[in-house]
C-alpha cells in the first residue's frame, strides 16, 4: 500500500497509539492465558491452539502489507523481535474495517484504481472478522478475541457503516458481512449483549434492513441480518409497532420464492419469539392485523403462502400467552368461513395426497358430527352451502381413495 494512504488506514496518530496498546494488551493476556493453560492441561492440543491464536489473533490471515508498514513506522525495534509475524489484533481489524467502510461510503470522490485496492482490502478484513468470530477449519474461535472484536465493533458506528455500505460490496463480502453481523448479535461482553444496546440506540437501522426486501440483490442479506437483530426483544417490539409490519403482508407474497420465504421466516420469528410482546401487539392491533392476515395470507392465490399462514395462525392462536386473542378470533363468523373455505380446499382437491386422506378418514365421524351441530343464529345461505359441500366431500371419503 502506498505511504500516502497510511493516515487514512490507521485513522491518524491517535489511532496508532491505540493500536499499539491493543497489541501489547492482547499479547500479555495471551501469555498469561498460555501459562495458565499449560499448568492445568499440559500439552493439550486445544490449549495449544488457543494460546497460539491469542498470540496471533488474526491467525490464518497473511500479514498484510498495510499492517507491516504501519508497524515499522510506529514501533520500536524491540517490539519487532517479539512479534515475528506482526499480527493485527481483532481491535486493529475492526478499526481498519471501519476506516475502509467510511472510505467506501464516500468513495465516488476517489480514483477507480485506488478504490479497487481499498475495496479488496475491505473484503479481506471482513473475511478475517468472520474467521475470528467463527473459527475456521483449523481452529475454534477464542472468546477473548471475540469479546474484544465485539466491544470495538459497537464502540463506534461500524454496524451502521457496514449496513449502509452493503450494496457496495461484492456477493462474497456481503455474505461474510451478514455472518459477522449475525454472530455479533449473540456475543456477550461482561455478560451483556452489547449489540442489543447499540441497536436500541440506532433503531432506524432496522428501517434499512426491512426495506431490503424491496431490493432483489440485498433482500437475502438484509433479511438474514434482520432475523438476527429481532432476537433482541426491544428491537422486535420496535419492528412490530412500526409501520413496516403492514409491508410484510406484501413481502411474503413477492414472486421470488427465496425472498418471499425469507420474509415469511422473519414474520414468523416476529410473531412467535417474544411471547409477551407479541400478545401485547396482537391485542392492540387485532382489527387491522387479522383483516390483513385473512385477506392477504389465508386467501392468497399462492399455495405456499396459504400453507405457511395456516401453520403460523395455529402456532399463534394455540400459544397460551395469546389466549385472549384466540378467544376473540374464534368468536368471529368471518374467520370461521375463511377456515372452512380452506378446509373445503383440502377436502375438494382431486388426487389428495395419501397422508391428507388418512387424516380426513381417521377423523371422518368427528368432523361430520362437528359440522352437523354447526348452526349460525342467522340464516346464511353461503355458509350453509359451504358446510354442505365440505360434509359431502368428507362423507364420501374412504381409505381406498388413497391414490
Amino acid at each position: 500500500m502506498p505511504e500516502k494512504s497510511l493516515g487514512l488506514v490507521a485513522g491518524g496518530e491517535a489511532s496508532n497509539g491505540g493500536w499499539m496498546r491493543g497489541v501489547v494488551g492482547l499479547s500479555e493476556e495471551g501469555f498469561k492465558m498460555m501459562k495458565g493453560i499449560c499448568i492445568s492441561k499440559p500439552g493439550g492440543a486445544t490449549s495449544r491452539a488457543v494460546a497460539q491464536r491469542l498470540r496471533h489473533p488474526a491467525a490464518q490471515s497473511d500479514s498484510t502489507p498495510t499492517s507491516s508498514t504501519l508497524y515499522d513506522k510506529s514501533s520500536s525495534t524491540k517490539m519487532k523481535g517479539l512479534f515475528k509475524s506482526k499480527p493485527r489484533t481483532p481491535v486493529d481489524i475492526v478499526r481498519q474495517t471501519r476506516d475502509l467502510l467510511s472510505f467506501a461510503a464516500r468513495s465516488s470522490e476517489s480514483r477507480e484504481s485506488k478504490r479497487e485496492e481499498k475495496m479488496a482490502e475491505l473484503f479481506k478484513n471482513l473475511r478475517e472478522l468472520k474467521s475470528i468470530l467463527y473459527g475456521n477449519s483449523e481452529s475454534e474461535p477464542v472468546s477473548e478475541a471475540c469479546a474484544q472484536l465485539t466491544q470495538e465493533f459497537f464502540r463506534e458506528n461500524t454496524l451502521r457503516l457496514l449496513i449502509t455500505c452493503l450494496p457496495k460490496l461484492n456477493l462474497e463480502a456481503r455474505k461474510d458481512a451478514t455472518q459477522v453481523v449475525a454472530n455479533l448479535q449473540r456475543q456477550q461482553v461482561n455478560s451483556r449483549l452489547i449489540a442489543s444496546d447499540y441497536l436500541e440506540a440506532n433503531l432506524d437501522l432496522l428501517d434499512i434492513l426491512i426495506a431490503g426486501y424491496e431490493n432483489t440483490d440485498m433482500a437475502l442479506h438484509y433479511g438474514a441480518m434482520l432475523r438476527e437483530c429481532i432476537r433482541h426483544q426491544t428491537v422486535a417490539r420496535y419492528v412490530l409497532e412500526s409501520q413496516h409490519m403492514k409491508k410484510f403482508f406484501d413481502y411474503i407474497q413477492l414472486p421470488k420464492f427465496d425472498i418471499a420465504a425469507d420474509a415469511a421466516a422473519t414474520f414468523k420469528e416476529l410473531l412467535t419469539r417474544h411471547k409477551s410482546t407479541v400478545a401485547e401487539f396482537l391485542s392492540k392491533n387485532y382489527d387491522w392485523f387479522f383483516a390483513e392476515y385473512n385477506s392477504k395470507l389465508l386467501e392468497s392465490s399462492n399455495y405456499i403462502t396459504r400453507r405457511q399462514a395456516i401453520k403460523l395462525l395455529g402456532d399463534i392462536l394455540l400459544d397460551r400467552s395469546n389466549a385472549a386473542v384466540m378467544t376473540r378470533y374464534v368468536s368471529s363468523k368471518d374467520n370461521l368461513r375463511i377456515l372452512m373455505n380452506l378446509l373445503r380446499l383440502f377436502a375438494a382437491k382431486q388426487n389428495k395426497p395419501p397422508d391428507i386422506v388418512s387424516i380426513l378418514v381417521a377423523n371422518k365421524s368427528k368432523l361430520l358430527r362437528l359440522f352437523a351441530d354447526f348452526k349460525t343464529n342467522k340464516e346464511d345461505e353461503q355458509f350453509e352451502a359451504d358446510k354442505a359441500q365440505v360434509m359431502r366431500e368428507i362423507a364420501a371419503l374412504e381409505l381406498r381413495d388413497r391414490p
Binding site: P255, N302, Q308, K311
Partner: protein, 388 residues
C-alpha cells in the same frame, strides 16, 4: 455487477418446459426454454404437496444457498417461484448430464485418468469454495457432478447440504445422518462423533474411485452392509496398474478414516495429481464426442407446439417405454434423503450379519432394489429401500 437473479424472471409464462431430463422423489427436472433471453435452462419442479412443513424450511434454505453461490463450478439457482402446487427452480442446463450418466453411456467400466483428473479438479474447486463459506455438501458423487457440452463441470444438488454457520452460531459439527451409503464417510455413519467438511473429502475420494471403475467400492452390497464395512474395514484403495502413482496417492489421502488426517479441499488442490489437469477441450474431448451437440433451441421451440407449451408436459408425451427408461436411468443416481435412527440401523445391521440364512435372500432383494435407486424414509423401522 450483472446479477442472474435480476436477469431471470419469476414469471412462469417466460419459461417453456420441454422434455423431462430427470426424476427423483418429489422433484422432476425439465429442459426448458427461457423466452426473454432465447436461452435453454433446466427447471426443477418440486411437488410441494409431497413436502411436509419441516422440509419447507429446508427447501427455503437450499434455494437461498443456491441463489447465493457464485462459483463457476457450482450450480446456481437463477430464479425460483411457486407455480400452482409446485416450486420451480431455474438452473443452468448442463447438456451432457451427470458424470454418472456420461460414464454409463460412454465408458461403463470407468473413465480415463486424464478425464478424471479434470473433472475432479473442477469439483474440488467447488468444494473449496463451499467449505470456505462454512457449507458441507454432504452428497458428493458422480451423479451430482454435471457436465455441459463445452466441458464445464458443476457440482449440483444442495438438497442435503448443511451450513456450519447456520443462524449465527458456529456449530462444532453436524450429526445428522445424511448422504448416500457408498460415498458416506465413516464418521458420518458413527453419528455420536459428529463430522465436518472433511466428510466431503472422503466422499470426494470415493467419487474418484467411482469415476475410475464405473461404480463406487462396495456398490454390490446392500446399504446396511456398506455401512458396516465402511466403518470396520480398511479404507478402499486405487490399485489398478493403469493409473499413475500421484492419482493413487491423492485418493489415499482422502480415504483416511481419521477425518483430521484428511487434507482440506484447498490443500488437496495443490496435490501434484492436479498439476497435470488439461483444459476440457483436451481432457474431455473423447467423452464429449459421445454426446451429440445440443438441439438448436429455435427448432425445439417450433417442434413444441405452443398449445401445450405453457403446461407441464404430460407424461404420455414421451412414449411410456422411453419415459420408463429415462426414469430408470435417473433413478440409478440413487435418491439421497437420509435421516434416520442410527441406533435402529445398527441393530438391524447386527441381526443381518448374525443371521446368515436370511442374509442371502435379504441381500439379493436389497441389491436389486439398490440398483434401481433407493429411498429410505425418515425414522423408518423397516429398512427395506423403497422403489422410487
Amino acid at each position: 455487477m450483472a446479477d442472474v437473479q435480476r436477469i431471470y424472471s419469476a414469471n412462469r409464462f417466460d419459461y417453456v418446459l420441454l422434455d423431462e431430463i430427470g426424476n427423483g422423489g418429489s422433484a422432476t427436472v425439465y429442459r426448458a426454454f427461457y423466452l426473454p433471453l432465447n436461452a435453454v435452462v433446466a427447471v426443477k419442479c418440486l411437488d410441494l404437496d409431497r413436502c411436509n412443513n419441516g422440509s419447507l424450511e429446508n427447501i427455503r434454505l437450499e434455494t437461498q444457498t443456491m441463489s447465493c453461490v457464485d462459483h463457476p463450478n457450482l450450480v446456481r439457482a437463477y430464479s425460483s417461484f411457486v407455480v400452482d402446487r409446485n416450486l420451480w427452480v431455474v438452473m443452468p442446463f448442463m447438456s451432457v448430464g451427470s458424470c454418472l450418466h456420461a460414464m454409463k453411456k460412454a465408458h461403463p467400466s470407468g473413465l480415463e485418468e486424464i478425464e478424471i483428473c479434470f473433472i475432479l479438479k473442477e469439483t474440488l474447486k467447488a468444494l473449496d469454495y463451499l467449505h470456505r463459506q462454512g457449507h458441507i455438501h454432504r452428497d458428493v458423487k458422480a451423479g451430482n457432478i454435471l457436465v455441459d457440452s463445452n466441458g464445464a463441470v458443476k457440482l449440483s444438488d444442495f438438497g442435503v447440504s448443511a451450513c456450519m454457520f447456520d443462524s449465527g452460531d458456529r456449530q462444532r459439527c453436524r450429526n445428522t445422518f445424511t448422504g448416500t451409503p457408498c460415498w458416506m464417510a465413516p464418521e458420518v455413519m458413527q453419528a455420536e462423533t459428529g463430522y465436518d467438511s472433511k466428510a466431503d473429502m472422503w466422499s470426494f475420494g470415493i467419487t474418484a474411485l467411482e469415476l475410475a471403475h464405473g461404480h463406487p467400492p462396495l456398490s454390490e452390497y446392500p446399504p446396511l452392509k456398506v455401512l458396516l464395512m465402511t466403518v470396520q474395514n480398511a479404507p478402499p484403495r486405487l490399485g489398478d496398474k493403469k493409473f499413475s502413482k500421484s492419482f493413487k496417492d491423492m485418493v489415499a489421502m482422502c480415504l483416511v478414516k481419521d477425518p483430521k488426517k484428511r487434507p482440506n479441499a484447498g490443500k488437496l488442490l495443490k496435490h501434484s495429481f492436479f498439476k497435470h489437469a488439461k483444459p476440457p477441450e483436451v481432457s474431455l474431448k473423447k467423452l464429449l464426442a459421445y454426446f451429440r451437440p445440443p438441439l438448436n433451441p429455435v427448432t425445439v421451440l417450433q417442434i413444441q407446439n405452443s398449445e401445450s407449451a405453457q403446461q407441464l408436459p404430460s407424461k404420455n408425451m414421451a412414449s411410456a417405454a422411453e419415459y420408463e427408461a429415462r426414469s430408470m436411468r435417473e433413478c440409478q443416481k440413487g435418491i439421497s434423503a437420509w435421516t434416520f435412527d442410527i441406533q435402529e440401523l445398527k441393530a438391524q445391521a447386527a441381526t443381518l450379519l448374525l443371521d446368515d440364512d436370511n442374509d442371502e435372500t435379504l441381500e439379493s432383494s436389497l441389491v436389486d432394489n439398490y440398483r434401481d435407486g433407493l429411498t429410505v424414509m425418515g425414522n423408518c423401522n423397516q429398512l427395506f429401500p423403497l422403489k422410487c
